[in-house]
Amino acid sequence: MTTSVRKSVVVSQERIVLALAILLFVIAALTLRGFIAPDNLISIVRSVSVLGILALGMAIVIIGRGIDLSAVAIMAMSVAWYLQMLRAGTPDALALPIALGGVLVIGLANGFLIAYADVPAIFATLASGAFVFGFVRSQLIAQDAIPVPAGHWVEVLGGIRYAGIPIEVFIFAAIAFATFLFLRYTKWGRYVYYAGDNPVAARNVGIPVRPMLMLRYVVSALIAFIAGLLTAASLHWMNTRVVNSTLLYDIILVAVIGGIGLSGGKGGVRNVLFGAALIGIMSNVMTILDIQVLIQNLIKATILLAAIIIDGLINPRDEQTSQQGDI
């Protein structure tokens, strides 16, 4: 009896978010006309697909006690550069590997700076994001927005539907499943948690902490590239202004709100899915209600703040964290 009472008292942030999302969903379904329509539900999932994909990459990094502030810059600039090469007449067989190579280099550079040069992740990726944006924008592309060449496979990709559901939803699901398998069932996936929970102990037991760390930033960069391709596929353009938008904060919001602790070692794919669900439903409801963007940002920021406070209360800093610092 006492154990069951104690169990019910334990309220994780993940459960709060799930409950909130369900509550909001039910209220919206009962009060808002058209909310429950299948098309609207598909659109909710779709609107958070790219965000969710980016948040999965971010989750892997955060679980390993890091953060990747260069994700949006990599997403926008790698794809803009790729499209620019195509426009300039570079064959796809060459342009794609070059762009992919660039993405790998940035991921490796992020990882190297953090793992071997001991630069805090928050500064290393902030700087590399600014560098990627500045370098690509000034040296490699001619304009803020680059169109996808007509008939190119990226354009075709954006039009693919299965059972009326856009392709990016399936890709989001596939990446979520792959990430789940990686984190849960592979040795290297488990190492992410150990390294995030206590890097020194992980190193002492012989886990290759530094190469693992580089791997996480490479994975994050590659996921950003995929998210960028999907964005371009849907809009037929890549507008690099997205780097200045609130997208980066939205990614962190999805990860943190879902209950992935910023101090590392906690959370998983499920948290990202719950966070994405809440944000998706909330944005959709606010758009249906015609709430101004300024107010929408205020509401989102308030929720992020609340999530961080709850995160601090539920996952208090232990001795290890305070000794080593978090991200």
Binding site: R46, D144, A145, W237, N239, R241, V242, N244, S245, D290
Partner: protein, 342 residues
């Protein structure tokens, strides 16, 4: 007699000399000298919201060509969509040793540059506002009358929807601070009042971002499946609204109106393939030429900066697939080639 002859000869010679002199004086037009004296070596600086989009690149190409043509120095600063970076660029320009003689600014909103630009005028710099109005007495505002632009958009969408449609229209606004967004909205609503049977059913903001435009348009289309037209406040993000319409399979049903400078790949190409239905063009080339004329005028006028606030509105035009002509749009590549002297 002898003397008389001499006097006559001298008079004749004098007449000839004088005549030639008179002739010479009439051939020497004083204009070019005055022009060169006033303009040569003058510095013109452009601070757009960013240098990477079609409008700014078009202005830069024409201004560079013209300013360097009269022996001036043309410079730009790139705030890259950040208002603080723009303010800093203007501050530095005002306090630098080589102050610009003419500062052309594209403000982000009605107020944030106002004080800085007044200071620039006090320092003897002529200030021209381009495309975005602000609460400030510039020596010239050059660009569209955005209220009128809103009216034209509303008229285009009403005509595009037709009398037999649902008469339901959606707006994808920019944001709540930019003058172009506020004035466009005012113009649209003015026309809507004259057509009470037409109705604006939703008016979300895109924050000028294409992905947001797509998301809010998708939601709008689901909430109002019988909608007949959408006005998106800028061609830079209207590709998002267009994507939502395309995804919903409603390209034939929805009449999509937007506005832009009339660049070939962003406007006419998208009108041609049916992505946009109508674009109210701010006619970038005319706008730039007006800007050039103002620069030349101000530098010769000798007046104190801020003396006569002037509005040079470009004649706006609504381009559709049907009325599109080879000269409806301009090519950025072409303009840049001219500026590079190729």
């Amino acid at each position: 007699m002898k003397y008389l002859k001499m006097i006559m000869a001298a008079a004749a010679a004098l007449t000839i000399v004088l005549g030639v002199n008179v002739h010479k004086a009439s051939a020497a037009d004083p204009g070019p000298m005055q022009y060169a004296k006033a303009l040569k070596g003058k510095r013109v600086m452009l601070v757009p919201m960013a240098t990477g989009f079609d409008l700014a690149q078009g202005w830069m190409a024409i201004l560079k060509h013209e300013v360097e043509g009269f022996g001036g120095i043309f410079e730009t600063r790139d705030p890259n969509w950040k208002v603080e970076a723009g303010a800093q660029a203007i501050t530095e320009a005002i306090s630098s040793e080589n102050k610009p003689d003419v500062l052309i600014a594209m403000p982000f909103d009605l107020n944030s540059y106002s004080k800085l630009l007044s200071r620039a005028q006090k320092e003897g710099i002529y200030v021209i506002l381009i495309d975005n109005p602000a609460n400030f007495k510039a020596d010239a505002y050059v660009g569209g009358d955005w209220t009128e632009l809103g009216r034209l958009e509303a008229e285009a969408v009403i005509k595009g929807c037709g009398a037999n449609s649902s008469k339901k229209i959606g707006l994808v606004q920019g944001d709540e601070t930019n003058a172009t967004s506020l004035f466009q909205y005012a113009g649209i609503m003015e026309v809507m009042k004259q057509h009470p049977d037409f109705q604006v059913v939703a008016k979300p903001d895109s924050n000028w971002d294409a992905t947001t435009s797509r998301t809010v348009t998708t939601t709008m289309l689901q909430q109002h499946p019988d909608m007949c037209g959408i006005i998106d406040f800028w061609d830079g993000d209207a590709t998002g609204a267009a994507a939502a319409i395309r995804d919903a399979g409603k390209m034939k049903q929805i009449y999509l109106v937007t506005t832009g400078g009339g660049e070939e790949t962003t406007d006419c190409k998208l009108l041609g393939d049916g992505t946009f239905s109508a674009v109210v063009s701010t006619e970038l080339v005319n706008e730039s030429e007006a800007m050039v004329a103002m620069i030349k005028y101000l530098l010769q006028s000798g007046q104190k900066p801020g003396t006569t606030p002037t509005y040079i509105y470009t004649l706006l035009s609504t381009i559709t697939k049907d009325n599109m002509k080879p000269r409806s749009c301009w090519s950025l590549k072409g303009l840049q080639a001219i500026a590079e002297g190729k």
